[in-house]
Amino acid sequence: MTPEADHRGRPGPSTGDAGAPQVTVDGVAVTARTGQTVAGLLVSAGRTSWRSTRGGGRPRGLFCGIGVCFDCLVEVNGVPDVRACQRLVADGDDIRTAPRPRPAAPGGPAGDGTRTGEA
């Protein structure tokens, strides 16, 4: 993903951001912008969802955008349940989304891969 070439907002000032964080999203190298949140990075790359719910396996992404709703959870550097809208991207971050699982067999579990320790 190349946020600099995004179609959604104004192109970011890719010049002059000498310390632009280099991160990976699901293993793919990405140049982020200084001060960008993980959600800002994902949305500017055209992503609308990056996890799915435990119960219905429904896709979720940004909703409240200010840290209240916990819909935008993502894994950063091996730590699950990080709110993408609150977390600033840092150089070297390993960001992992949990794309929608295949529909589970009827009655089967539909894990979202981002939450643990709950029944």
Binding site: G12, G40, R60, C64, G67, D81
Partner: protein
Amino acid sequence: MARLIAVVGAGPAGMAAALAAADAGAEVVLVDAAPRVGGQYHRQPPPGLADQHAGPGFARLEAELAGHPRVRHLAETVVWALEPRPGGHRLHLRTGPADSPHRTARVLDPAALVLATGAHDRALPFPGWDLPGVVTAGAAQALAKGQRVAVGRRVLLAGTGPFLFPVAQSLIEVGAHLVGVLEANRVGATAAGWLARPAALLAGRAKLPELAGYLGLLARHRIAYRTGHAVLAAHGTDRVEAVTTARLTRDWRVVPGSARRIAVDAVCVGFGFTPQLELAVAAGCDLDATGTCVRVDIAQATSTPGVFAAGELTGVGGADLAAAEGRVAGASAARHLGLAVPVPRAALRQVRAGRGFAAALAGAYPVRPGWRSWLTEDTLVCRCEEVSYGALCQAVRQRAALGGRVLRLTSRVGLGPCQGRICGRNAAELAEALLCRADQRPPLTPAASARRPIAAPIRLGELATTPTEPSEHGFASTDPTDRSEA
């Protein structure tokens, strides 16, 4: 420390409170979750993206705070718990990247506390509101102002209240194609709300040029502003692809035959605001009659001695009112410490005028009960626990849910990670309506869902490293370098 005041929240109210208290001679710690001061209102793009100029007023405030010898700003810091102690309250803080397990822990024992925790958007449920691409107006605003990113290409903005206008402006600025702005309240109803309070209308006259400016902006971009309209449903499989809009009656029921389908890739909804009450509730502060705001007196004092509140927490009225309340609250907190503080007469006058305006605003843009008729059996009420309206109805009717807590335990509404912040008010209203229909039950108090002993998320590993006593500076910390900056 005897002269330490903690101000929680660095939006317009918190910034003003911190400066007022520090100017009066108090030592102030200003705590905020964001990397920069400003809150949601003065949200700043990060330095690399600073192509939008903040007002000169904000720049001056930010510089004044940064240069004040008695203000310490703790950025990227959350208050995750507040507990009573003899003579005051203890704040448990974590500083560091959001939701990281490696944040610095601090304990703060201030002699007085100013809560300026603000509010978040209220979103009403409707079929498909859980589809990706459906976001709150505040999310679109934060993304546009803070990240310079548009939430979508073809965007519809819907809800109620004047906050829709600055969001529309932000969306236009970042290049979104805004297909329309839908205001659920009808012009007649809105005007009636204003005319019922002529004095407040006069007090708010300074806002009229601002309003005219927004309407002009929409007209120039040929964006339809439709009153008495709402989004009834969002459609799509993995994301929103279209919405159904409709005309509403005065009480927000759908006018038959008025439904229209519009292709969009994002929908932004905002139906006013819900104050962030958890710290105030933890401090034992009384709420107002609606149960959604903290009750304060003329000095911004809450019912809990030594705890003051300012801004949207005490009633939604915009940034100017919040700043005036902050100046009063900061002065009152300093006075509580025994400092000699002149009466902030100008700020008190602004608060009085602003409150009238806020009351008129609330009267002009209410959330009307017809929204409940937009829901279907399988519309989610609680997004976290995926509780449908049908399941909620069943819990209320068949299990004879008796109150908020019982309702939560029987239906799981509000038991997810957001702790009912998104669904609490809506679920309470839905349940109350169901109970009234089946009659005989006492009303539920929305405040019940604001009782959250853990006010902000914290990881179990972090709990284990919580300091127990503050240092002589009023601080305790797990960061060995902290003492030098304290």
